[in-house]
């Protein structure tokens, strides 16, 4: 059994708004082994970005963690003071944000911006040592070193994203959280960046959390995956196991929602309805208003954790797990 680097234990979080509390995360629990890539999928507003931001406590003022623990290397990050947490940000855990390429300051050279980040978090680096480090990082992410002295407007979208990745790698973190890092990019550029990111991760033996709405990207990149719905982690396990035998009806529906460029042309399955408003989420199983297997139990009581008979780490929150008791699985 490999070492667990990150453990989220019963994490709940809400955003206070004028209209009431938005229950953005509800009792999310999982463990991530060191060196693995975890893919988190879900639709907008399901809480995947909130979960990522909660790990580094990069949350807006109206957010309140109402319960649970976040253990990183056995240290509970939620017990750390803001000043102590700063030691973790960037050095041990770094983040690549959604559309981060627009975050580069237009009036500074790209290289200088990365040097500044390095020196901010590791003051022992001199300017020239930091610059050397930037050169190595540029090579790592596949950017030409002559580009260090260029300004962001001289970069294409894909190159900016690479620079952001270089910045995230700058302090040699143990965990990288990448939140939709390629969403705004064209498919060829996306492919190149993801390949590069994955290779760097393997070379440096880093752990990674990869957040995406695209199940195809997750399928290719991550060894383990989690599916989020309405603030809950509804299914978690190895990617192979989830694709082979999804337990939660939402996961199964999601997998059949993506057409593929290869293989047989299967009819897509429709998940009826829309995700719930988290100001007033449904009782019981959050997915019950859209689920075809719904029973009275689902409407009232939060489902228990069901573990896959074939893989212990694979679990889902469901009263009527697919594949159990000889039940037909739509996905197969």
């Amino acid at each position: 059994m490999a070492e667990t680097i990150l453990e989220i234990d019963n994490l709940s979080l809400r955003y206070k708004t004028k209209k009431g509390d938005v229950k953005a995360l509800n009792r999310v629990s999982f463990q991530l082994e060191k060196g693995l890539a975890l893919g988190l999928v879900g639709e907008s507003g399901c809480g995947k970005t909130t979960l990522a931001n909660a790990i580094l406590r990069l949350l807006p003022d109206n957010a309140e963690i109402t319960g649970g623990h976040i253990y990183f290397d056995k240290e509970d990050l939620l017990l750390l003071a803001e000043q102590e947490l700063r030691e973790y940000r960037w050095k041990k855990i770094s983040m690549i944000f959604q559309a981060a390429m627009n975050a580069l300051a237009p009036v500074y050279r790209v290289g200088d911006q990365i040097i500044e980040a390095i020196q901010n978090h590791a003051p022992e680096f001199t300017y020239s040592a930091a610059k050397e480090r930037v050169q190595r990082l540029f090579e790592l992410v596949g950017l030409d070193c002559s580009r260090i002295d260029h300004y962001p407007h001289q970069y294409s979208g894909g190159m900016k994203q690479r620079a952001i990745i270089a910045m995230a790698l700058a302090c040699d973190p143990d965990l990288i959280i990448a939140d939709e890092p390629t969403t705004a990019l064209d498919v060829i550029v996306q492919d190149r960046i993801l390949k590069r990111l994955n290779r760097v991760r393997e070379e440096l033996g880093m752990t990674m959390i990869y957040i995406s709405h695209d199940i195809a990207v997750i399928a290719e990149l991550s060894k383990v995956m989690g599916v989020m719905y309405a603030g809950e982690l509804v299914e978690f396990g190895s990617t192979l196991s989830l694709f082979k035998q999804a337990i939660h009806p939402y996961t199964a529906g999601l997998m059949n929602s993506f057409p593929s460029i290869k293989g047989a042309k299967n009819q897509l399955s429709i998940i009826p309805g829309e995700p719930p408003n988290l100001l007033n989420p449904p009782a019981g199983c959050k997915f019950h208003p859209r689920c075809q297997y719904v029973t009275a139990q689902c409407r009232q009581v939060r489902p228990p954790l069901y573990r896959s008979p074939t893989e212990q780490q694979h679990f889902a929150l469901c009263w009527h797990p697919l594949g159990a008791n000889g039940k037909e699985n739509d996905h197969e």
């Binding site: 060829i188 996306q190 492919d191 399928a219 192979l240 929602s257 993506f258 429709i270 829309e274």
Partner: protein
Amino acid sequence: MNEPLLEVNGLEKYFSIKSGFFRRELKYLQAVDGISFKIKRGQMFGLVGESGCGKTTTGRLLVKSIAPTAGEIVFNGKSIIELDDDEVRDFRQSVQMIFQDPYQSLNPRMTIFDIIAEPLKIHKIGAFNQREELVAGIMEKVGLSPAASFIFRYPHELSGGQRQRVAIARAMVIKPDFIVADEPTSMLDVSIRTQVIELMKKLQEESRVSYLYITHDLAVARYLCTEIAVMYLGKIVESGEIEKVTQNPAHPYTQALISAVPIPDPSYQRESIAIIGGVSKPIDLLPRCRFYDRCYERDQHCQSQAMPDLHEIEEQHFVACYQR
């Protein structure tokens, strides 16, 4: 029946841009640079390519929202370039457009009823109470039901998926022959996207309306369309029957593009073709193959010759490449 609904010949659209010292230098951006294709009646025709390849400009040209620099668009046997006022009105009644962003394409001050009924008013179809019936009918069809609970609402009260259904209803209500759909699902969430894809498929099969479906998502194009054209820097580099183009791509660009699409199957080992560089802007182009700079199969011939024309390499499969 085999006669095409729409035929495009040598269509060009150049945008003039000023650059250089004091912006005195006049250059042209060759957004669409001599493309030709045909769309049959009742067909879902896919136009794919990366950002900036000219696919949206092509869509706008086809609905006569901008005028072409050169070339010919024949719709229902008639050139649409020079129409008189009456004919333009007829044309606008038979051609509709669905846009990418349902948050921007609906007038926020109009109710859902007014939005969907607007084309009926403009084209003077039906008396007022008949319009109500027509609108309610189309709303049920696109899944905005019960219609009564939606008609007096405003766009901001609707979700993204519902708004796109409104946009589809507005396009369908006057029973057009041809719809240009420009990335209609790319702003939507996964489960909603599938609903809208299936809705468009169902409506298309029922009404036999022709579609130009513009998208960057090749997997969706494969799912919906029967024929496809791949654009690169203002040119069509490959076109033909959907399975032939997507399963057996011939042009080096199409091959690279398709090989870069992730597959939703963790056991599939995808090999992608690495191509150098990125898409440039179609300005100051040399008179040769648009893909030359990035091509991994180029040779002397490609360097010296003009842009190759599309030629048939097998039945219903065309490619513009000297190596094929």
